[in-house]
């Protein structure tokens, strides 16, 4: 067992410790990144009852393939792209299942019911639009707009150039804008 893990330790250090057999380091990585990964997957339509499994599978694959992580991107962005791959594989299996539509967070009582209804409609519309994007466009868009990742980080995790990442983002926004207006 390695030294006690604290929240101050960088991901890279935790990865090194995990590679040396420190299970607590792996646990800390999971605790740090589960929420972001689950959000990333949920916004892409992962059903509630599968979310746990997809998250688990993504971490499992990430730890198994940790030797291939070169640190060109952040661990989180790399993990999210692995999660995207797992979700894609699962979605093939779910073909005949209805993918749960994400209910936007507009359930709280509001003084503006019409505004809430508009927001709910826009959110549903956006989710549908995301599903119509090419995979790279969708992932770049969400990594940037939802997760706040920087382009070099996104590019490194997806194995594309920074320019290509910007182009994918631009096209995604353009297509979503057109979709939202129809």
């Amino acid at each position: 067992m390695g030294a006690p893990v604290t929240a101050d330790i960088a991901d890279s250090e935790l990865i090194a410790r995990f590679q040396n057999g420190d299970e607590k380091a792996a646990t800390e990585l999971v605790l740090r990144h589960t929420a972001a990964l689950a959000r990333f997957l949920a916004v892409q339509g992962a059903p509630d009852d599968e979310l746990d499994d997809v998250v688990q599978d993504a971490f499992f694959k990430a730890f198994r393939g940790i030797g291939g992580f070169r640190g060109g991107s952040s661990f989180r962005t790399w993990l999210l792209t692995i999660g995207g791959n797992v979700l894609k594989d699962r979605q093939r299996q779910w073909k005949r299942r209805h993918v749960v539509e994400l209910m936007p967070d507009v359930a709280d009582p509001s003084a503006d019911p019409q505004g809430d209804a508009d927001a709910a409609w826009a959110a549903e519309r956006l989710q549908e639009g995301l599903g119509r994007l090419a995979r790279l466009q969708r992932e770049v868009f969400l990594l940037r707009a939802q997760q706040g990742a920087e382009y070099p980080d996104i590019a490194a995790s997806l194995g594309i150039s920074e320019g290509a990442a910007r182009v994918h983002y631009h096209h995604a926004v353009k297509r979503l804008k057109a979709w939202m207006q129809t």
Binding site: E23, A26, T27, V30, L31, T34, A35, A38, R39, F40, A42, V43, D48, L51, D52, V55, Q56, F59, F60, F63, R64, L102, M103, P104, D105, V106, A119, A120, A122, A123, R125, L126, Q127, R144, A145, Q146, G148, Y169, V173, L176, K177, M180
Partner: protein, 161 residues
């Protein structure tokens, strides 16, 4: 979403994404990270690492394969050199000495025929079995080339003497 990101997005998309993301975050809260960590660590222990071994390459097998390839290619090339493309089968034609039989067994007329055959193969239109353009006089080995050149010279010398 930070201010820079918000500037990059049209308001309508930014608003919709915020609402969508709040719903996603609420659902993500239901995922128990500690339980995920336990299960992942357990799986890492339980599930063996699958190592992909490269296929074992037998040197002997490689030699046999290479010999077979040489035989087949040599046979095809020889047949094409001797009989030309689209001609009758081997059995229907008179037997000619093989190209690689030895430099002394190829006379000038045969060598000229070989050159013509090579040229014919390289330029034959519409023949799907034409050997690639890489097949040329360069494919002959040194003794064959020497024999070819010397025998091509001989008639000329003979003619002038």
């Amino acid at each position: 979403m930070d201010a820079n990101l918000k500037d990059e997005l049209p308001d309508r998309i930014a608003g919709a994404l915020s609402a969508l993301d709040r719903g996603a975050a609420r659902r993500a809260e239901a995922v128990d990270a500690s339980r995920i960590a336990e299960r992942v660590l357990q799986r890492l222990k339980d599930e063996p690492v699958r190592v992909l071994h490269p296929p074992r390459i037998s040197l002997r097998g490689l030699r046999v394969a290479a010999a077979l390839a040489v035989l087949v290619i040599g046979g095809v090339v020889t047949q094409r050199l001797v009989f030309g493309p689209g001609r009758a089968s081997v059995a229907a034609l008179p037997i000619l000495p093989p190209v690689a039989a030895g430099s002394t067994t190829v006379d000038a007329s045969q060598q000229q025929a070989i050159l013509d055959a090579i040229e014919e193969m390289r330029t034959a239109p519409g023949d799907s079995t034409v050997i690639p353009a890489a097949v040329s006089v360069e494919d002959l080995d040194v003794p064959e080339l020497q024999a070819l050149l010397s025998s091509m010279d001989e008639p000329q010398h003979g003619g002038t003497e």
